[in-house]
């Protein structure tokens, strides 16, 4: 294939603004992040996609451990009878469970669920390992995949039947401790979105009717994607004592009484990568924030036959210095590709900063730095290159975050009254803040009309509702609700 043919093949043909869904699928595939699996709703996570997941894991796993969580691994299969011990769980997940019925040539006596989530296999073991208050808090986490047989609207990373995630499970003596844990984890997820993914998130809780099955409270970070839809970016649940009751998770307190634990669970999946791709990428392909990028910088030397040696030497030397300084740098000295092809390819792959060096740069002792998000370029002195590169990476992060923040701000509106709510979401997408009486029926009315729902209620309980009355029915408002279409 010629350069031109390959370039055409590399290019993104769909428009983010006009065809978000098709554009997203194209970026995912052409940037080498994922492919479709033979079974509908499953994906293959390719090396470049998995490298993002690994970096995300490193951050989160470190923070989890700092706050006392220990990793473990529980079986991927759960006996049906275990699932049934917590009635909300079985009702909530039964329609989505994949069942193993045969092992080898034999039919199993009891069918086994592929875990859709692991409370029902982890909590009984936490019960075995917990005797006295000295064993508490108990904080477990596992990195694994889970399966939820959701047949509709599957989309790489954002909704797949099997997905990679982590699930944390903790047990505590008191409600307060369990609630604090729920918030600690939510804050860690929020931090991941802000600091690593460069995506501002809104912390809130889900309405009663949309909680995790069996939970007392489900909290969420919601991210506003550029198309005006909200992404539930993670969840952190205060489970109360329901699971502990169902699975006999009790402890001997200091006063020698046997008491029931308060538990939490919290999870973040590779859906985060979906949010990342949707938020920052553009019609040239992927755009990655520097902390997550497998290559933070690519050095592209530009030479003619007579300048070949000096340019390549200069470029290699410069790349080595960046590498030494801890920058993840790639030197693209391929002979068989021209610079234009290389630019396009690395833009498609989302490398945050490109450094160009040609004969002029060599002569002047300089290098040209180009920012991926907006093409801004600057000339840096060779002597100050490391600093200039680090500044450029910081600057790329700041630009990505600022753009995502602007997108969020543009997508928060107030509205009151059925028509105004429908009209505002219809025109602008995004969030509509309104007063809410607390009745699910009011959500249903909006949902039926435009598939928007209450994606979150602000976390601060002390705050007065934004309106005195419910934006839908006009009864007294109990709280403020954020309506939005969502993924």
């Amino acid at each position: 294939m010629s350069d031109t043919e390959q370039e055409q093949e590399l290019g993104i043909t769909e428009s983010k603004a006009h065809n978000t869904g098709e554009w997203y699928a194209e970026v995912v595939q052409k940037a080498g992040l994922a492919d479709y699996a033979p079974m509908g709703g499953f994906i293959v996570c390719r090396p470049r996609g998995y490298a993002l997941w690994e970096r995300l894991q490193n951050y989160l796993d470190g923070w989890f451990k700092e706050e006392g969580a220990q990793n473990a691994y529980f079986p991927m299969m759960i006996p049906e009878s275990y699932l049934e011990r917590e009635s909300d769980i079985v009702e909530g997940f039964d329609p989505e469970v994949a069942w193993v019925t045969h092992g080898g040539h034999e039919e199993l006596e009891e069918r086994l669920a592929i875990r859709p989530t692991s409370e029902s296999i982890i909590t009984p073991y936490m019960a075995e390992w917990t005797r006295s208050h000295r064993d508490l808090p108990l904080k477990l986490n596992q990195w694994c995949s889970v399966v939820r047989w959701e047949a509709t609207d599957t989309k790489p990373f954002i909704r797949t039947k099997e997905f990679l995630w982590q699930e944390g499970h903790t047990a505590h003596e008191t409600e307060q401790e369990a609630w604090d844990e729920t918030m600690t984890r939510l804050d860690q997820y929020h931090r991941l979105y802000e600091e690593v993914l460069a995506i501002p998130g809104l912390k809130g809780r889900k309405p009663e009717h949309d909680k995790f099955p069996g939970a007392d409270t489900t909290t969420t970070v919601e991210a506003m994607l550029p198309d005006g839809k909200s992404l539930q970016a993670c969840t952190s649940h205060y489970l109360g004592t329901g699971f502990a009751d169902a699975y006999d998770l009790t402890y001997r307190a200091e006063d020698e009484q046997e008491k029931v634990c308060h538990t939490t669970s919290w999870g973040l999946s590779w859906r985060a990568l979906g949010g990342l791709i949707m938020t920052h990428s553009d019609d040239q392909g992927l755009v990655l924030p520097p902390k997550l990028a497998p290559e933070q910088v690519v050095v592209v030397p530009i030479w003619q036959e007579e300048t070949r040696e000096e340019v390549l030497e200069y470029a290699a030397d410069l790349a080595a210095e960046l590498d030494e300084a801890g920058v993840r740098v790639e030197l693209d000295d391929r002979e068989e590709r021209n610079p234009g092809f290389k630019y396009n390819e690395w833009e498609l792959k989302g490398v945050p900063v490109r450094i160009e060096v040609g004969p002029n740069e060599v002569e002047d002792g300089e290098a040209t730095l180009v920012h991926r998000p907006d093409g801004e370029n600057e000339v840096a002195d060779r002597d100050a290159l490391v600093e200039a590169t680090e500044d450029a990476l910081d600057s790329v992060y700041a630009k990505l975050y600022a753009a995502a923040e602007e997108n969020l701000e543009e997508h928060v509106h107030e509205a009151h009254g059925r028509d105004e709510i429908l009209g505002t979401i219809g025109r602008h997408g995004g969030y509509v803040k309104t007063g809410w009486c607390g009745d699910e029926a009011c959500e249903d009315e909006i949902k039926e009309q435009i598939s928007a729902e209450i994606v979150m209620l602000p976390l601060d309980d002390d705050e007065e509702p934004i309106h005195d009355t419910c934006g839908v029915c006009g009864d007294d408002a109990a709280e403020t609700a954020y309506f939005a279409k969502n993924y």
Copy 2:
């Protein structure tokens, strides 16, 4: 519960020498490594077990990447029709496959295998991603769990129906490159066993009839456990062109011809942890080599009421210094436990070095270091503590390795003739080296009598067989075979 009661509960009651199986199960459970799952043959890997796996992963993953492997993630389910495209795979694994037949309330049109190994889902994607020789070699790896429904002889870590492992899959232009890859990975596994797990391993290949289904050559590292049984510690396969043919994995060579790739696959599972536990642990519990130990050193302060403050301060200071120096150190200053209890508990958990400090040590500016494997103790100057600790850790590693090496050497015997082979294995266990004609029937004869089989053939093809004739049938020997009972 009183200290005494808890101490009794902590203590290992079975004898490694006399009741290896029961002793092993007790160490695994009491050291907090794993528990039995509700479904037979499955385990729950507890945090202390998982921490070992994580450290092992870190070493191996780093080495894999140094040699060009990239991590990815493929679906845990494989359509039956994909499995069937390589006939050896389906024949070899069909009896052990767990089948998903239902998703939610619906029966699936095609049943899905939980992956027993992933050649049949990964190779088709390697085929999609490989066009020209420029795309080769392609080196993928995934960390995941697989399921093999083996009903008998399950044992925590060593043989479980679901197990954690990594599986590498690579594609190359030539047989030589693929073979080199096979050896590179075998050497990395061998290095892991030697340097990290302190277990000497023998590199060899499996006889034809015991190869991985569809493989051209299966290589192995075999470890001799103290009970005289061999553990297949990993495998690395040169797959020839069979899988590439079955899944259309071809490439356009430099001469523009379409050619078939040569592929490899290689895997190591949490079975390695089983070998580790079996090899070094003793009747006091777990013994860990320093590189893998979650805590390398525990500092136990010993105080009376009047010396409490100075001893605790001294101990904390010392622990802080070790931590600073990069030693993984735990200060056990629990008030509610006496030093004897602490010693027993940390011995059970396998911490390589214990540092005791009491009033005498404080006064003399010293600390007492005790080696876990043999209780050897030495007094170190406070000023030279970091160095002394590092030396002690090196010394513990050396002792563990030396003991395992001695065990291996004691368990290699030569024998020739049916009765001598049977008698030698019967008396000493271990390996019996003998000439072998290459006929499976000769292995069957030995297997039927004492369940020993050919676990490996030495790798060096140039080497002459140890005997001119087969140790079983007396025909001409084609090679040297190692017979042993195995796990």
